[in-house]
């Protein structure tokens, strides 16, 4: 799989409250509605203008804080193609795998990518290509989560493993 998208770039320790505000956790229940308030307290420009296929680039510890899965769902529903970061907070990391939102850890790529440029991610080759043509390899997912990704997230994966898929 290959994706290409415009980059929204942010710093270190971006927490789940600014990705999806706590005040919405029980008032917004529809996935499509969650997408409309994504990053509201971090970057209103993103909230207004992000397009399906765009790529988020963050610093270290992306998604720290709350376990709220809506902080992943809102970006997945917005159509974000991938999040590339120097590192992810652990619950957020698991939530991304479970929601089927591709995440990539590459500090070198993060440093080389500029906000607003278009980058390409080749998941089969495990490569990120920047607008200036620089290529960064990233480690493939660990073996034990690959099945999860291939099945499209945890719930389809569990259904399959229990023989409940249609």
């Amino acid at each position: 799989m290959k994706i290409q998208g415009k980059v929204w770039k942010y710093g270190d320790d971006i927490n789940t409250d600014v990705i999806f505000a706590g005040k919405y956790t029980y008032t917004i229940k529809d996935r499509a509605e969650m997408a409309k308030v994504a990053l509201e307290d971090l970057d209103p420009e993103f909230t207004k203008n992000a397009q399906a296929g765009d790529i988020i680039v963050g610093g270290k510890n992306w998604g720290c804080g709350s376990s709220r899965e809506q902080a992943v769902t809102c970006l997945k529903e917005r159509g974000i193609g991938a999040i590339i970061a120097k590192g992810f907070a652990r619950i957020y990391y698991r939530n991304c795998l479970n929601e089927g939102l591709p995440i990539i850890v590459s500090a070198e790529a993060v440093d080389a990518i500029n906000a607003g440029e278009t980058v390409e991610v080749d998941f089969d080759a495990s490569e990120i290509k920047t607008a200036s043509g620089k290529v960064f390899k990233f480690p493939p997912y660990p073996e034990f989560v690959r099945g999860l990704i291939e099945d499209g997230g945890l719930i389809p994966h569990v259904k399959k493993s229990l023989g409940l898929s249609k």
């Binding site: 320790d13 307290d41 034990f144 569990v158």
Partner: protein
Amino acid sequence: MGMTFAEKALGKAAGYPVKAGEVVTVEPHFCMSHDNAAPIAKTFKKIGVPKVWKPDHLVFILDHAIPAPTDEHAVNHKEIREFVEEQGIPHFYDVTSKGGVCHQKMCEEGFALPGLIMIGSDSHTCTYGAYGAFSTGIGRSEMAAAWATGKIWFRVPESLKITVTGKFNKGVSAKDLILKIIGDIKADGADYMSVEFHGPAIEAMSIAERMTLCNMGIEMGAKNAVCPPDQKVLDAIKGIEKTNEWEALWADEDAVYASELSYDLGELVPCVAKPHTVDNYAPIDEVKGTKIHQAFLGSCTNARIEDLRLAAGILKGKEVAVRTIVIPASWRVYRQALNEGLLDVFMDAGCVITNPGCGPCMGNHEGILAPGETCISTANRNFKGRMGNKESFIYLASPMTVAASALKGEIADPREVL
């Protein structure tokens, strides 16, 4: 070579010896969910399994917005009650005088037990490490899958050993220690790790203080945080254990750690975490005099009877200068505070006392801030917008510092009023 606590607890659950870095699939013991049990129940139904794997392993505790402040919350609570009924879930804490903040209830009702693998759909599930449990927060999909299958995978974490010695000086408490540690190692300083608290100062601490430490493990990125299951823990759980499957497990002397830190309590001073990150440490001298508009004494971090006593000790016979919201961690704590006369102290001082629950901590109700306002809070997060408004400012501090600040209407040093 010795084993860490995480290696022992996950190894016991897996049924074979494990080392950091390995991936294990285990059966969790208690699975805690709060108001988010409703959306989890919906995801669970999508899987297509008619019944949860073990109804008595699920614990539901309403706390995030109780009693329901909006129709959305009311519908959410209703869906949880219906699911409880349908699935025959015995451990359900509804909006009654038996309830309170989920993590407080898990501990005071005997669910948090040494050596158990506990999961919760809330990041502060790491609190139960104060009782020697291996407990960690997970997302909603993962909880739904656990209800259906009775299984969850973990990468056995590396461990960070924090050894604590010495005694607190006047006006300094466990909250000051954990804010200092997070300020030192930063919000990702323990990412993916199991944090073990060791040393004579930890042994000397009450379980309430240990809960404050473990509660904030997540604020440095930890998978779990844990204190030794010593005699204090064994005394606390005696007669209230919700299962007999627990076992007191602790790290070997020669366990291998990814890193080690040590702290002397005598070197600590009252402190705060400045807006808008928990690792934005500042000693009290640097921030005292900062004007505040609200003080909040509550949350799963610092609203136990021990915390309320410390705050009341400062407020007794005085009057607060700003609106001050007091929310005991549970109705049991509330009643004890009532019997000890602490609620009189708070009321005489001009504080507003609300029913136990999460209150304004994550911006749901009971104390949302207006643009430009500043709150000093005993909670665990000061992220932008956390208390409902992104143009507001939150300083995190201990119950003593919050009480001293409430009296002055500005951030104040508790040592000056003790």
